[in-house]
């Protein structure tokens, strides 16, 4: 059996404001195994982003336990966490923003910049390295944030709707590229998305989460063989998965 990179066990979580309590997650259990790509689907406000924050150790759940790479999570852990907002630092250029994870590790500046520069073309960002976030489009910022996330040295990635602001072609290019590097580096991913098609196409497994307070309503193994080609989206197996998920989403 493959080792589990991430385990969330019976997580309940709420946000507290003034004297009100908002229950967001209700006994959520999920896991991501080594090299696995797992998607999290669910309606808006169901607590998907909250799950990622808890998995990264940035938010303490009311109840339940979290394990990442075999160790219990008590504080922030080093993971490739990409928040829903791109969160590029406005005072750093695209190049400097992307190099942050390397510089934070104490890598020399020149080497860090070189590594980022090599990846820029893949993300369609070549030529924009000197731009500040205020000068970039929404999709460009998202791609830069993804590039930065990939450079965080961890075999677990937590991605919160990384492709939401992208056009179809850019989105598909980045999806292909992601699949190839994940395969190459044996990285595990917990991936939040609103797109059922994207989830099926990319995932080994999909969790469907209910409306708030979120709980897992469906778990679906995607048995499509890899490597997958785009034509798979018209296969009857793909459509069956889609139907099943749409049904679950309607009931969620």
């Amino acid at each position: 059996m493959e080792p589990k990179r991430l385990v969330l066990s019976k997580i309940s979580s709420s946000y507290y404001s003034e004297d009100r309590k908002l229950a967001v997650l209700n006994r959520v259990s999920l896991d991501v195994k080594a090299g696995e790509f797992v998607s999290l689907l669910g309606p808006s406000g169901s607590g998907k982003s909250t799950i990622l924050k808890i998995a990264a150790g940035l938010l303490k759940p009311d109840r339940g336990r979290v394990f990442a790479n075999g160790r219990e999570v008590t504080g922030a852990v080093k993971v490739g966490y990409m928040p829903q907002q791109d969160l590029l630092l406005p005072w750093k250029t695209l190049l400097e923003n992307c190099a942050l994870p390397l510089l934070a590790e104490g890598k020399p500046r020149a080497e860090s910049h070189r590594r980022v520069e090599k990846l820029l073309p893949v993300f369609g960002l070549a030529g924009f390295e000197g731009y500040y976030p205020g000068q970039l489009s929404g999709g460009m910022k998202q791609r830069a944030a993804l590039l930065r996330t990939v450079l965080i040295d961890s075999n677990l990635m937590l991605l919160d709707e990384p492709f939401a602001a992208l056009d179809t072609i850019t989105r598909e290019n980045l999806q292909e590229w992601m699949m190839s590097i994940l395969h190459r580096f044996n990285r595990s991913v917990l991936f939040v998305t609103h797109s059922i098609d994207e989830a099926i196409y990319l995932s080994d497994r999909i969790y469907m989460i209910s409306d708030r307070p979120g709980r897992i309503v469906t778990e679906l193994m995607v048995g499509l063989p890899r490597p997958r080609s785009r034509t798979v989206v018209t296969s009857s197996r793909f459509l069956n998965y889609k139907q099943e998920l749409m049904g679950a989403l309607a009931g969620a």
């Binding site: 969160l87 005072w91 942050l100 934070a104 205020g134 000068q135």
Partner: protein, 254 residues
């Protein structure tokens, strides 16, 4: 381009027109110089006393620079303390505000008793009027730091030094510089007040002496220098902001 030059010329024209009006009114009504000197006699007082004025200006300027530096150190230390410990913020805010509510002149005797005369009380007064806008702005700036950006630093396992220089410092810079613009403008006034309290050199001393000897034109010359110095420091603060925040430059161009 054309609009910009017009924007520069217009205020200058208004000032010149006002000066001309002032000069005319003084002459037409034969107002005595000790009551209200004409711009031309102020200019003469200025030109005729340059070395002496320069000496006093230098003395004032030293106090301003030293006081501002002291204010920055105090403000940064206070702001960091208040941001780090919420209890410190609640405890320190009221005395901070009180320190500004008490008139400087009421504090004057105490300052003199504690610090003696001349340079030290001057610096103290400058620092007292300057640290407040800096500290308040810094505290607010630290409050505004995006907690999600700090989260991001956490998952990169960045050290405190790295977080400080890549997130906290740049995030508070705009707040710091808007505080500095206010402080820099007040600083000269602070030094003048300090010199009135008790001093032997400086523009404040020069103004007092001119007043007692009814050399109102000399006094106005000193006031003119104070104004120019304050404006220059204000502009300098703006320039430093421009220099240290290249990212703001790019955005404001759009």
């Amino acid at each position: 381009m054309k609009k910009k030059s017009l924007n520069n010329i217009l205020p200058l024209g208004i000032i010149l027109a006002l000066l001309a009006l002032w000069e005319t009114v003084c002459r037409v009504f034969a107002i005595p110089d000790f009551f209200l000197p004409t711009p031309s006699s102020i200019a003469r007082a200025l030109a005729g006393n340059l070395p002496l004025l320069l000496k006093h200006t230098t003395a004032t300027f030293y106090a301003v620079v030293a006081g501002l530096a002291l204010a920055m150190v105090v403000a940064v230390a206070l702001a960091l303390t208040m941001d780090r410990w919420p209890l410190a913020k609640r405890a320190l805010y009221p005395p901070l505000v009180i320190s500004q509510a008490v008139p400087i002149f009421a504090l004057a005797p105490i300052i003199l008793i504690w610090l003696g005369v001349d340079l030290k009380p001057k610096i103290a007064v400058v620092a007292l009027v300057c640290f407040f806008p800096l500290a308040i702005n810094l505290v607010e700036g630290l409050e505004q730091v995006n907690p999600e950006a700090l989260d991001l630093m956490q998952v990169m396992q960045a050290g405190p030094g790295f977080i400080f220089q890549s997130v906290l410092l740049p995030a508070v810079m705009p707040y710091f510089f808007s505080g500095l613009k206010i402080s820099a403008t007040y600083s000269v006034m602070g030094a003048i007040i300090g010199e009135w309290l008790g001093g032997s050199t400086g523009l404040g001393v020069y103004m007092t002496r001119s007043m007692y000897s009814f050399k109102t034109d000399h006094m106005f010359a000193a006031i003119l220098i104070v104004v120019v110095l304050s404006l220059a420091l204000f502009k300098l603060a703006g320039f430093l902001a421009w220099l240290f925040m290249p990212w703001e430059r790019v955005q404001s161009k759009e």
